[in-house]
C-alpha cells in the first residue's frame, strides 16, 4: 500500500475476488429458487395434435435425386405456465417442442426433431395458452417413410441466465402420436375453421 499503483492493484484485486463470491451467491440462490418453485416439475399439456405430410421435391426439404420427401408438419394446442423458470438470474427462456422417435429400419437409433420453438424474455409472458398453432419447421427423416412413426412429443426448455451455466429441462406431460398421411389441404381447412 506504499505507492498509488500498489493501492490500485490491491483494491482492484480484492474487488474482483469478492465479485467472484457474489457470482457464486447469485448462481446458488437462483438454482435454489428454481428447485423451490418446482421448476423441474412444470406441468404442460400438448393436446389436439394433428399431423400432416407434405411431399416436397426441393433439395432444401430433404429430397434426393428428384425423389419426393415426406415432410411432416403438425397443428397443436399447448397449455403451460413457465413462470417458475423466471427469477432474478433469468435472462431469457428458450422453449421448444420436440418429437422423439426410433428408426424404422434400425430401431436402435433414436432421433429428436424440433417442430416449434419460442423465446420468452419476460416472466409476464411465460404463460403459454396456444390453440391450433402450426409448427414452425418442416421435419423429414433420413429414411424414406415417415408415415406410421410413433412420435413422443415433449416440451423442453432452456434457461439462459445472466450469470452461470445454461440450465436444461423438460416440462412434464408427454404425448405419443402416430404420424398419419393427412393431406396438407387438411391444414388449410383447420386454419379456416380457427380463424
Amino acid at each position: 500500500m506504499f505507492s498509488l499503483s500498489q493501492r490500485i492493484q490491491t483494491l482492484s484485486n480484492q474487488a474482483l475476488t469478492f465479485a467472484c463470491f457474489i457470482f457464486v451467491f447469485v448462481i446458488a440462490t437462483s438454482w435454489l429458487q428454481l428447485i423451490q418453485q418446482h421448476a423441474f416439475m412444470t406441468p404442460s399439456s400438448i393436446d389436439n395434435i394433428k399431423t400432416s405430410i407434405n411431399l416436397r421435391t426441393s433439395r432444401y426439404y430433404g429430397s434426393m435425386n428428384g425423389k419426393p420427401k415426406e415432410n411432416s408438419k403438425i397443428l397443436f394446442d399447448l397449455n403451460t405456465d413457465l413462470s417458475p423458470l423466471f427469477n432474478w438470474n433469468t435472462k431469457q427462456v428458450f422453449v421448444y417442442l420436440t418429437g422423439e422417435y426410433e428408426g424404422q429400419l434400425r430401431p436402435q437409433t433414436k432421433s429428436e426433431v424440433t417442430y416449434w420453438d419460442k423465446i420468452i424474455t419476460k416472466g409476464d409472458n411465460a404463460k403459454l395458452q396456444l390453440k391450433n398453432v402450426r409448427s414452425k419447421y418442416a421435419v423429414w427423416d433420413l429414411e424414406e417413410v415417415f408415415v406410421g412413426r410413433e412420435l413422443t412429443f415433449k416440451l423442453k426448455w432452456n434457461i439462459q441466465p445472466w450469470i452461470g451455466p445454461l440450465i436444461y429441462g423438460e416440462a412434464n406431460g408427454n404425448k405419443t402420436i402416430t404420424i398419419t398421411s393427412g393431406k396438407p389441404a387438411n391444414v388449410k381447412n383447420e386454419k379456416k375453421s380457427s380463424a
Binding site: 506504499f2 505507492s3 498509488l4 483494491l11 480484492q14 474487488a15 432474478w88 438470474n89
Partner: protein, 88 residues
C-alpha cells in the same frame, strides 16, 4: 521520451506512511466485504441483478475514494532517518 516518462513515474508514486498503509488496507477490506454482503442482500430481496451491480459498484467507488489518494492525514508521520555521524 523515456526520461520524461521516468520523471512522471517518480512524481506519481504518492507514498503514504506506515501506519496509514496498514489502516487503508483494513478500510479497503471492510468496505468491500460490507459492500459485497449489502449488494447481495439488496439484489436478492429486490430480485434484481441491476441493484446488486449498482450497490457493489458504489462500494468500490467508496473504497477508491478512501484508499487511493495520498491525503495529508496519510502522510503525517515522516520517517526519522538516522543522522550521519561523520562530519564533512
Amino acid at each position: 521520451m523515456s526520461e520524461i516518462l521516468q520523471e512522471l513515474g517518480r512524481k506519481l508514486v504518492f507514498p503514504i506512511d506506515f501506519r496509514s498503509q496498514k489502516n487503508t488496507e483494513r478500510y479497503q477490506q471492510l468496505i468491500l466485504i460490507a459492500g459485497a454482503i449489502l449488494a447481495s442482500l439488496i439484489g436478492f430481496f429486490a430480485q434484481s441483478l441491476l441493484y446488486l451491480v449498482v450497490t457493489y459498484g458504489l462500494a468500490i467507488v467508496v473504497a477508491m475514494v478512501v484508499v487511493l489518494p495520498a491525503y495529508p492525514a496519510y502522510t503525517r508521520e515522516k520517517l526519522d532517518w538516522v543522522k550521519p555521524k561523520i562530519s564533512m
